[in-house]
């Protein structure tokens, strides 16, 4: 009996993987990267900031499996831990974007009317700036640091998220169960929180997941420009920036950090796309 159920559950898992390969690959990549980032200090062979000035820019060897950077720091350790800042930055920025964008989208989509038009025109103005430019603007005003970068990317994400949430809200707004809630005298807050919100959650989550990848990309760009994560912290974007000058002496710092960043972004995108396919197709 037990064997049968585990076999059955194995089958469902197997089917899940074959039917939505994007989701399967995406989630595998993300699991791996999350695992590495969490367990980083335990599995990395050395400290990230320890310099070995005599062993600079080395190619992979037994001592340094990934090689070393221009200060002779172990690239494996730095690559393993560099994901932490990127992930925290990406997830944190999108969270911030959701916290700002979801209520705006929900309110404007629910009440419509004049307030909707005014808020949405304002959002259009924000949306017309490229996200990176927008983030640069905010950081220039506040000063360069990782938390400011997160804030900047979060704010830059807000208009896009609020648009998605608003359109999802609009389509649920006229469903009969919402009218039924109105007809029994529910408060606006209850209708938004309890009737509409659960129904717009799936598209919002999908949107958020895809945006994490892009947020990481902008974060890395900011680090590359020296406006995000500050040295000597290990960060993929920062590693790419540092490796640029020595590219022709040793490509390894660039290869590892670039691959890691690229894989993570692809992972988030695949995961988000797969999620959309699964939820869209399941109905």
């Amino acid at each position: 009996m037990n064997g049968e159920t585990s076999l059955a559950s194995f089958r469902t898992t197997f089917r899940f993987f074959t039917q939505t390969p994007a989701l399967a690959i995406g989630s595998s990549i993300l699991c791996l990267i999350a695992l590495v980032s969490i367990l980083g200090p335990l599995i990395s062979p050395g400290a990230t900031t320890e310099q070995h000035i005599l062993e600079r820019l080395q190619a992979p060897s037994f001592k340094y499996p990934f090689g070393t950077d221009q200060y002779g720091r172990d690239l494996l350790s730095r690559t393993l831990l560099g994901g932490r800042t990127s992930l925290i930055l990406g997830v944190g920025a999108v969270m911030l974007g959701l916290i700002l964008g979801v209520p705006i989208g929900l309110f404007t989509g629910y009440f419509r009317g004049k307030a909707d038009e005014i808020v949405m025109r304002f959002m259009d103005i924000l949306l017309s700036f490229p996200s990176l430019l927008m983030a640069l603007l905010i950081i220039t005003a506040l000063g360069a640091s990782m938390s400011h970068a997160m804030l900047a990317i979060g704010v830059a994400n807000c208009p896009g998220i609020s648009r998605i949430v608003r359109s999802a809200t609009l389509s649920v707004r006229n469903e009969e169960f919402v009218l039924a809630a109105e007809a029994r005298g529910e408060s606006h807050l209850y209708i938004m929180a309890s009737e509409i919100f659960p129904n717009i959650l799936p598209p919002t989550i999908i949107e958020g997941t895809i945006r994490i990848g892009f947020a990481m990309l902008i974060g890395a760009s900011l680090s590359f420009l020296g406006l995000g994560v500050q040295p000597p912290l290990a960060d993929w974007g920062l590693m790419i920036r540092d490796s640029r000058e020595y590219l022709f002496l040793s490509p390894w710092p660039l290869i590892w950090s670039g691959t890691a960043l690229g894989m993570t972004i692809i992972g988030f995108n695949l995961f988000g796309d797969g999620l959309r396919d699964m939820i869209g197709g399941g109905e």
């Binding site: 419509r112 009317g113 004049k114 038009e117 005014i118 469903e175 009969e176 169960f177 009218l179 039924a180 109105e182 007809a183 029994r184 005298g185 529910e186 009737e195 659960p198 129904n199």
Partner: protein, 673 residues
């Protein structure tokens, strides 16, 4: 062999699904003779569309024909490859689909779309094709073909679009025409015209027709022979008069009994149970679990089609018993007694509802914003314990009026007054309190329940609003479920696990949870199958009697309204054109629109042929309604200038019977006899 156009032998179709193989069609055999119309009737899930698609070989990728043969003019269609089939499709077998909008290319003028068929299939020159096209358009009664051929599909009304589709199907003079629900989704007056057209075409174009629909009334009007499909099996087939007058399969008997009929005053009776799961076919009769006449033999053996009489077959061991038990012909019952009118529970006083786009920028810039006059100056009242029906075609404003009455929409002008009855009669005007007493049940079962909530949570919420404790709530929830005849097993389910009828029951339970005194029913059964529809209506009427409620029943289905309404209001383009007691309106309709509407209803009796009063043109836009009487553009008895210039007053023509028409009463009465 050459006496049949289409012959299907033992056709079975399976669909692959995650739950297993769905056996959508099982061993269906039928034939269609030359110039014969075979009607196939069935409820949703009966496999009727699968049959059409199997003939056309248009099955979706997970569908497979597992056995059987399809012969068209002696050729086996299943043995042909796609290039051979392509020569048959459109040329010799043509299909008319349900939704005209998606069957026409929106970016091409209709004339070109039809002419193209001639150019492709018969290699005619552009000029010849164009001439043939014009001939076709006049064949399907499209006025002014030269002018209308230059129009795009969206510029035509739904009925005209369907005519274009039919013209296209007829283009190459096909031997077989498959029509899949060609009038579903059209208004009743438009439907009547299309049915007339099909009837005329049958004589002019020598084609056989396979007519598929869920609507038995339509089948009775158009077909020569009729087949009844149930759960993928052909359960009865025979000449249309025989099947309708002496149905022999219990399912057919049940279907006809569940059908609301305008010409008979009879109690309709739902079929109990629901459609079986088609992934596991029982070894016994497929209809047995829902059958009233079953006995021992039905539980272990599946019947074959048995001969009832010449050309009339039924798949039932006990068709004789079923036939006898049914008691021959349906009997007329005496008219319902008219309730003495109570005090009004709801009054609307010159209610108007105009919609306009909320385009703030356009408003600032001073552009004119078009207004849609959805409801324009409507006054009526509903008495205590009364069922008031609001009828009209789509776009007449009946749904908007229903929402104004429930205060879901704020009227642009006018007042809605509501009087609560318990504990003592008094007028209510506070919005929140009003909502305790007035509830609404919506049309679409799929959208009226929040898909993210369990049934228990859906029903408990209104109870919580009344401040009941947790224990009281779960007790009351069970009582409400029982009230709508569902058991406690439903509590933990999600809406998508329920069928349409079950969802509608939950929606009713939710409305009743607040103990309302007045309920607006906005087309509560129009999305449901006939057998389910009857059970929901029966339930509603029982609840109304036991709880002493009043209903506002909004519907486009006059046959249904005939069974339950005490008083009726007929709406056209946002205005009431006739209002009065149901019996009076059905027997002595005054307004020309009411009369056209009533005459358009198809009767499920092939011996009654109803040629309807023709309504020309289509419903004008509510953005710019006609001046004077709104109906004058289509009125068959229009009198002249007065109708075009002066809006008619709503005048009494009898006790509690009002009509908005310029025609003097004497003339109307003279015309009607």
């Amino acid at each position: 062999m050459d006496s049949t156009v289409l012959e299907i032998r033992n056709l079975s179709v399976h669909f692959g699904s995650p739950r297993g193989k769905v056996q959508a069609l099982r061993e269906v055999s039928l034939e269609i003779g030359p110039e014969e119309t075979l009607g196939i009737a069935g409820e949703s899930g009966s496999g009727k569309s699968t049959l059409a698609y199997a003939i056309m070989r248009y099955l979706s990728p997970n569908g497979r024909i597992t056995q059987g043969e399809i012969f068209f003019m002696g050729e086996n269609l299943l043995g042909k490859d796609r290039s051979e089939l392509r020569r048959i499709w459109g040329n010799r077998i043509a299909m008319v689909y349900q939704d005209p909008k998606s069957s026409l290319n929106p970016s091409k003028r209709i004339g070109h779309q039809i002419a193209e068929v001639f150019q492709i299939h018969q290699s005619l020159s552009a000029k010849e094709a164009w001439d043939r096209m014009l001939g076709l358009l006049s064949l399907v009664n499209i006025p002014d073909p030269v002018f209308n051929a230059e129009k795009y599909p969206h510029q035509l009304s739904g009925g005209m679009q369907q005519r274009v589709i039919i013209a296209m199907a007829l283009a190459c003079g096909p031997g077989l025409l498959i029509m899949d629900e060609p009038t579903t989704g059209l208004d009743v007056t438009t439907q009547a015209r299309i049915i007339e057209l099909i009837d005329d075409l049958k004589r002019e174009v020598k084609a056989s027709i396979l007519y598929i629909t869920h609507d038995l009334s339509v089948i009775a009007q158009v077909s020569d022979r009729v087949g009844i499909l149930y759960a993928g099996e052909l359960v009865e087939i025979g000449p249309v008069e025989r099947v309708f007058h002496s149905p022999s399969h219990p399912y057919t008997i049940g279907l006809l009994g569940a059908l609301p009929r305008i010409e008979l005053e009879k109690q309709f009776k739902p079929i109990r149970g629901k459609l079986p799961d088609l992934t596991e076919i029982p070894p016994h009769c497929i209809f047995f679990p829902r059958c009233d006449y079953g006995e021992e033999v039905c539980t272990h053996q599946a019947p074959q089609l048995l001969r009832v009489e010449e050309g009339h077959l039924a798949k039932c061991f006990r068709w004789k018993e079923a036939f006898v038990a049914r008691g021959g012909k349906a009997h007329l019952r005496p008219l319902r007694e008219v309730r003495p009118p109570g005090q009004p529970i709801l009054e609307t006083d010159h209610v108007k509802k105009y919609y306009s786009e909320t385009n703030t920028i356009a408003k600032w810039l001073g552009f004119p914003i078009p207004e849609v006059k959805a409801v324009d100056d409507v006054s009526f009242h509903i008495g205590e314990g009364e069922v008031f029906a609001l009828v009209g075609e789509s776009g007449c404003g009946k749904t908007t009026l229903g929402r104004v009455v429930t205060k879901l929409l704020r009227p642009t002008a006018g007042k809605v007054l509501f009087y609560k009855r318990r504990p003592r009669r008094e007028e209510i005007f506070l919005a929140d309190e009003f909502r305790r007493y007035v509830q609404i049940v919506f049309q679409h079962p799929d959208s009226s329940l929040n898909p993210m909530k369990k049934i228990a949570a859906i029903i408990e919420r209104p109870l919580k609003l009344q401040g009941l404790s947790k224990a009281e709530r779960s007790k009351a929830t069970l009582e409400l479920l029982e009230l709508v005849k569902l058991d406690s097993g439903y509590l933990e389910r999600y809406p998508k696990q329920l069928s349409g009828g079950e969802k509608q029951r939950v929606a009713i339970a939710r409305a009743f949870a607040l103990n309302p005194e007045f309920i607006v029913l906005d087309e509560p059964v129009s999305a449901l199958d006939v057998s389910i529809q009857a059970s929901i209506i029966t339930l509603l009427m029982e609840l109304k009697a036991s709880r002493d409620l009043s209903f506002l029943f909004i519907s486009h289905d006059l046959s249904l309204v005939r069974h339950i309404a005490d008083r009726i209001g007929v709406m056209y383009l946002g205005k009431l054109c006739e209002l009065g007691e149901a019996e009076k309106i059905f027997y002595h309709p005054y307004h020309p629109y009411t009369r056209a509407l009533l005459s358009s209803i198809p009767v499920p009796d092939p011996s009654i042929s109803n040629r309807s009063i023709r309504l020309e043109g289509s419903v004008p836009s509510a953005q710019d309604p006609p001046k004077g009487c709104r109906f004058h553009t289509r009125c068959p008895s229009k009198m002249g200038r007065i109708c075009e210039e002066t809006p008619p007053a709503f005048i009494p023509v009898g006790e509690d019977h009002w009509v908005a028409c310029h025609i003097p009463m004497g003339n109307i009465l003279a015309n009607s006899s």
